[in-house]
């Protein structure tokens, strides 16, 4: 990777001291170009045009759809879509099933994110304490699971947890007093969703571990040493030295994980063979179900829009963090 090394100039070493307390220093604006203001916009034009077309327009359409009546007959053009005001929303919001789905989605997301972050942090800390060869082994396993296509991982987990021939039931049943032979993990919603959560966490942990490991190398050893001399235990050092340094990374990873885990779809969809039962529905599958199974595109759009609005707060936190980071140049 000698070519790669040239991209990290020796002139700009990463700062190794702890971030200064208080607000970060004001970022330096990029030097103005002589080309006037037209050049950057010309460079941006293709990108902005494409995004406006493939993202902006559908987003607007999503909002307008939510306020219309749009079903099978509108899709085929037999009827014009008519405006119905907030009817779709009131229908969705007064539906008991919908609130169950919301609660289930929040529970699933919180569970998956906490599980991912805690496990990721623990493994990252463990990597600092093991011998080199163990570290290499763990890294291989992590990168392999990270690189697995989601669909492949889902089919593999389906196989691992299969009721009759799955290795998991066979292995666990070897423990004394446990008999899970023929146990169907997908007979109940909570158990099945726990399996899906495990699948999501398994796929998400590697990115968290690798990012946090990179972050841990930035924690100044002198600070840890000083904390230890002041009588802090391992937990104290972690709590008062490591965590504050890692905070921006942790905020970024947590918000990203929330966004990703709220958007879980193929995992549920493929696990349940394309027809998730009621107790497996999350907001994403529920919106899909309304639109493409019941053919009520307007209601599906309303649910999708509510999902996006729910995520906005999380996105705002992520953006603030990214801007802080992105502007430090």
């Amino acid at each position: 990777m000698s070519a790669a090394d040239t991209t990290t100039p020796a002139k700009v070493p990463p700062p190794r001291q702890a971030p200064p307390p208080g607000p970060p220093p004001r970022p330096r604006r990029p030097a103005s170009a002589k080309g006037g203001t037209a050049t950057p916009w010309l460079l941006l034009a293709p990108c902005l045009l494409i995004l406006a077309g493939v993202m902006g327009y559908p987003l607007v359409r999503l909002v307008t759809l939510s306020f219309q009546k749009f079903g099978q007959s509108q899709l085929w053009g037999f009827q014009e879509p008519e405006s119905v005001g907030f009817a779709n929303f009131s229908k969705v919001l007064s539906d008991g099933d919908f609130w169950q789905v919301v609660l289930r989605t929040i529970g699933f997301t919180v569970g998956a994110v906490v599980f991912t972050m805690v496990l990721g942090m623990l493994i990252a800390l463990l990597l600092q304490r093991v011998s080199g060869w163990v570290k290499t082994l763990i890294n291989i396993a992590l990168v392999a699971s990270w690189g697995m296509p989601v669909i492949v991982a889902t089919t593999v987990f389906k196989w691992l947890f299969d009721a009759d021939y799955g290795i998991l039931n066979a292995l666990v049943s070897k423990l004394p007093g446990v008999d899970l032979i023929g146990h169907n993990w997908f007979a109940s919603g909570p158990e099945g969703l726990a399996v899906i959560m495990l699948l999501v966490v398994w796929g998400a942990v590697p990115f968290v571990v690798i990012t946090l490991s990179a972050g841990l190398t930035q924690v100044p050893a002198e600070l840890e040493e000083a904390a230890r001399l002041d009588g802090a235990g391992s937990w104290g050092v972690f709590r008062y030295v490591t965590l504050p340094v890692l905070k921006p990374v942790i905020v970024m990873l947590t918000t990203l994980s929330v966004i990703w885990d709220m958007g879980v779809f193929p995992q549920v969809f493929v696990m349940r063979n394309g027809h998730p039962e009621a107790q497996f529905q999350l907001l994403t599958t529920y919106s899909y179900d309304r639109a493409f199974v019941v053919n009520d595109y307007a209601q599906g759009s309303a649910i999708a829009l509510i999902t996006v609005v729910l995520l906005l707060g999380v996105v705002a936190v992520y953006m603030r963090q990214m801007l802080k980071i992105g502007e430090v140049e």
């Binding site: 990777m1 991209t7 990463p14 700062p15 990029p30 170009a33 203001t37 050049t39 460079l43 941006l44 990108c47 902005l48 494409i50 993202m55 327009y57 999503l62 899709l75 493994i123 304490r129 011998s131 163990v134 082994l137 763990i138 396993a141 990168v143 392999a144 699971s145 990270w146 690189g147 697995m148 296509p149 989601v150 669909i151 492949v152 089919t155 593999v156 389906k158 196989w159 021939y165 290795i167 398994w202 990179a214 972050g215 890692l246 921006p248 966004i259 958007g263 193929p266 394309g274 994403t284 639109a291 493409f292 595109y297 999708a304 999902t307 992520y318 953006m319 963090q321 801007l323 992105g326």
Partner: protein, 280 residues
Amino acid sequence: MTSTASPARRTSKAGWNILGLLVFATAGFPVYWMLDTAIKPAKDAIDPDPSLLPTGFTLDNFSRAFDIADFWGPVGRSLIVSLSVVLIGVVVGMLAALAISRFAFRGRKIVIVGILAVQMVPLVAMIIPVFLLLNDLHQYDKLTGLIITYLTFILPFTVWTLRGFIVNIPRELEEAAMVDGCSRTGAFIRVVFPLLAPGMVATSVYGFIQAWNEYLYALMLLSQENQTATVWLGNFTTKHGTEYAPMMAGATMMAVPIVVLFLLVQRKMAAGLTAGAVKG
């Protein structure tokens, strides 16, 4: 390193190592089990009390996988889509990344926020309007429709990642070239571009993987006859149950090339993605 360590230190190290090996075994097991099932003779693969170790080596499951559904058609379509998306994404993304990393202009911050925000909208939420839009444009069940759609998530990714790589190239190099008589464009082509090449390759490969792995849009926007490789994996589940051994063979064929590609660029990408993340 360990030669000077005290015995107590060494036992604690051994303890951590055992824990580390447990993590390795747990994280790696699903991958191992996929490969193991794929090469096992069918009767050993479907066994209520399966052996944890390989019981033999056969390629029967692979040939069964080819028989169940056409494999090369979907793979060809996935290749066309992924390569086209990456090509457009890297070229267009490069121009945009240059604009936001090397120019100061009014509205720059809004553009950055916009590009970041686009990445944050869950794809699933967009499927309904995208489906209707492609329906209106008569692009349903066409690869071009899928390529356009994939740009929604590939383009923000390429812009942001390439920006990260460009920012890491010191501006002084360009300035020096311009002092020596290069034009701005010349300086970019002769100085920045060569330094950027590894980052561009990594971004392309990673973008390719993302496009290749996408499932939902491929499933929704293409008909059964024109499915892509990820959707192909769904063929092993029928009304009569799931053909697990061939499915694991199919999964292996899908996963191995992608994981290898991923291994090649992962380090570079991790550095690019988190560049500056700790500098906050």
